[in-house]
C-alpha cells in the first residue's frame, strides 16, 4: 500500500492511501494492530484521521502508521469477519423520489426497486450518532445533493446523495435527496449496540409499500 501522512495539528495525522479502495483495509489494520498511542480512528471515503491519545508521542505514531501502510497486503487478513446484516423497512414516498427518478431515467417504482434490490455496505460513520454512509448501491441511481439543504430532514428519512445512501437518525438539516422513510430506530441508547448500522454492516432496504396513493408533499 502507498499513502500520504499529513500532520493535522500536533495530535493527529490524516492518512490518505493512494488507492481509495485501501482505506477500509488500512482502518482494519489499525484496529488489529492496537497501537497504544491511538485514541480514535475516523475513516471516511478517501482518508483516515488518526487521533493520538493526549499522552502519546506523535513521531512514534507517525512511524507506526508508516509501517502499517508499508506492510504487504495480506489476502487472508483482508477477509473481514462476517459482518452484521441489517434490514431496514422503507416506505418509498419521499419528496425527492420523482426528482431522483427523473435524473436516473427511471420511474419512481423502478427507482425504489433499484435502491432496495442491492445490498448496501456501511462504509463509515460520521455526522451524527447512528448515521452511516452506505455505498455499493445500484449505480443506476443518479442523485446530486440539493442546491438548498432542507433546514429539517425528518428522523427516519431514507436518502441518497452521490454514491451514498443513508438514514437520518434524527431531525437534522440536510441536503440529501429523500426517497422514503423508515420507523426502524437508527439510534437507541437502550440497545447493546446503540447504532443500528455500524461500519462493515450489510444493509438491505425492504419496501413495505411502494408509492401508494397519498404522496408526502415536501
Amino acid at each position: 500500500m502507498t499513502g500520504r501522512l499529513m500532520p493535522t495539528g500536533d495530535r493527529a495525522i490524516l492518512v490518505e492511501p493512494q488507492e481509495r479502495a485501501h482505506v477500509r483495509e488500512f482502518a482494519a489494520r489499525l484496529q488489529r494492530a492496537q497501537c497504544a498511542d491511538i485514541q480514535e480512528v475516523v475513516p471516511v471515503q478517501d482518508s483516515v484521521l488518526v487521533v493520538m491519545r493526549p499522552d502519546g508521542d506523535v513521531a512514534r505514531l507517525a512511524a507506526f502508521l508508516q509501517r502499517v501502510i508499508e506492510a504487504p497486503l495480506d489476502p487472508i487478513a483482508s477477509t473481514s469477519h462476517a459482518a452484521p446484516s441489517v434490514t431496514v423497512p422503507v416506505i418509498y414516498d419521499g419528496p425527492d423520489l420523482e426528482t431522483v427518478a427523473k435524473a436516473s431515467k427511471l420511474t419512481p417504482d423502478e427507482l425504489a426497486a433499484a435502491h432496495s434490490a442491492t445490498a448496501w455496505t456501511a462504509a463509515f460513520a460520521g455526522f451524527m450518532p447512528g448515521f452511516c454512509y452506505l455505498v455499493d448501491g445500484d449505480p443506476a441511481i443518479v442523485a446530486s445533493r440539493r442546491s438548498e439543504p432542507r433546514p429539517a430532514v425528518p428522523a427516519g428519512s431514507v436518502a441518497v446523495a452521490g454514491p451514498y445512501s443513508a438514514v437520518y437518525p434524527r431531525n437534522a438539516p440536510g441536503g440529501w435527496q429523500i426517497l422514503g422513510r423508515t420507523d426502524a430506530p437508527m439510534w437507541d441508547l437502550d440497545r447493546d449496540r446503540p447504532a443500528l448500522i455500524v461500519p462493515g454492516c450489510t444493509v438491505r432496504f425492504l419496501p413495505v409499500s411502494v408509492g401508494s396513493g397519498a404522496r408526502r408533499v415536501s
Binding site: G9, L65, F124
Partner: protein, 319 residues
C-alpha cells in the same frame, strides 16, 4: 448521610463534564468532554479527585449550589465574584461548604467557562462510558436544572492539593491561538490569510465551535480593516473528513469555524489549519466579542522522509 449538592440556580448554562467518551467514531459519536481541560483537571486536582471525576462547567458564571452534607469544592477557569451565603470568598484553592451553605458565582468578568469540582465527584449515571454532556448530539446528562439534586461520590480520594496560585487559561484582550497549517489548506486559495489581522468571536459560538468573523473596524484607528476576504468558490463537492477539537474548517463564506469539545465526528468543508492541542483550552475561554489572533506555527512532523526502496513510500508532508 447522603451527600448532595442542590442546584439553586444553574446560571446561563451549566453542564456536567469529565474527560469525555473518545473512541466511538464508528457510532458517529464525538468525544465531547470539558471544553477547557486544563482548568477542569486543575479543579479536580485541587480537591484530590481522580482525574476523570465529573465536574460542572458553568458558562458565564451565575451558578448557585447549596450543600447537603459537607463538601470541598474547587473553582477554576473564568473568574467571577464568589460568595458563600452572605460572605465574599476569595478564590485561592479549595472552598469548604458546610451543610446548608450556598455557594454563588457572580457573572463571569473574565473568561467564559468556570469549572466547579466537588471532592468525590458528581456521580450521575454515565452514558456510553462518560458523564459528559455533548450539546451537539444530546448524549449525556441534560443541562443542570433549577432544583436538581446532584449526587456526590464518597470521600475516598487523594489528599487536597495545598492552596497556591495557579495559572489561568483565559486571556484578556486578544486571545492568541497557535495553529498548524493543513491538512487541506491547499484546497482553499489564500488559506494562510487565516493568520492575517484579527478575528472576532461571534455570538453563534458554543461548545461545538468558535465561529469567527472579520474584525471590521480597528478600534485604535477607527479605520475599516480590509485584509481580504477568505470567501471561496465551493463548486466542487468536498468529501467529509474526520475532525478533532482544534480543527479550523473554512466554509465557502470565508468565516472560519474553530471546533471545540462538541465537534461532530466528520465535517464537510476543508480543514485548513488545526490549533495546537494545548491552545484549544484557551480557545474555550474566548468570549463572544473577544478578538482572536491566529498564528501559524510549524507542526511536530515537518520532516520530509522518503524511502528510495521500490515504489512503496509514505511521505510526511512538508509545510
Amino acid at each position: 448521610m447522603s451527600r448532595e449538592l442542590i442546584v439553586v440556580d444553574p446560571g446561563p448554562l451549566s453542564l456536567i463534564e469529565d474527560y469525555g467518551r473518545p473512541g466511538l467514531a464508528s457510532y458517529g459519536v464525538g468525544p465531547s468532554g470539558a471544553a477547557d481541560r486544563e482548568s477542569y483537571a486543575w479543579a479536580n486536582a485541587l480537591v484530590g479527585n481522580h482525574p476523570g471525576s465529573a465536574a460542572i462547567e458553568a458558562l458565564l458564571g451565575g451558578l448557585k449550589l447549596r450543600a447537603v452534607g459537607s463538601h470541598w469544592l474547587a473553582v477554576t477557569g473564568a473568574s467571577s465574584h464568589m460568595r458563600v451565603d452572605d460572605r465574599s470568598v476569595r478564590n485561592s484553592g479549595w472552598i469548604p461548604l458546610h451543610d446548608g451553605e450556598q455557594l454563588a458565582l457572580g457573572h463571569s468578568t473574565r473568561g467564559l467557562r468556570t469549572y466547579i469540582a466537588v471532592r468525590g465527584g458528581i456521580t450521575v449515571e454515565p452514558v456510553l462510558g462518560s458523564r459528559s454532556s455533548d450539546i451537539l448530539s444530546g448524549i449525556g446528562p441534560p443541562p443542570l436544572q433549577r432544583g436538581q439534586t446532584l449526587p456526590i461520590g464518597p470521600l475516598e480520594h487523594g489528599p487536597l492539593t495545598p492552596r497556591r496560585r495557579f495559572s489561568t487559561t483565559h486571556q484578556d484582550g486578544v486571545v492568541t491561538l497557535r495553529a498548524v497549517l493543513g491538512p487541506r489548506n491547499t484546497r482553499v486559495p489564500g488559506a494562510h490569510r487565516l493568520a492575517h489581522g484579527v478575528w472576532t468571536v461571534t455570538n453563534n459560538s458554543s461548545r461545538v465551535a468558535l465561529r469567527l468573523a472579520r474584525l471590521e473596524r480597528d478600534a485604535t484607528s477607527d479605520a475599516d480593516v480590509d485584509i481580504g476576504s477568505m470567501e471561496w468558490d465551493a463548486r466542487q463537492e468536498h468529501p467529509s473528513e474526520g475532525l478533532l477539537r482544534g480543527c479550523i474548517q473554512l466554509p465557502p463564506s470565508g468565516l472560519p469555524v474553530v471546533f471545540l469539545a462538541d465537534h461532530p465526528v466528520t465535517g464537510g468543508y476543508p480543514v485548513i489549519a488545526v490549533l495546537l492541542d494545548a491552545d484549544t483550552d484557551r480557545a474555550a475561554q474566548a468570549r463572544p466579542g473577544q478578538h482572536v489572533k491566529i498564528t501559524l506555527v510549524p507542526g511536530p512532523l515537518d520532516v520530509r522522509q522518503t524511502r528510495s526502496s521500490g515504489s512503496i513510500h509514505a511521505d510526511i508532508e512538508e509545510r
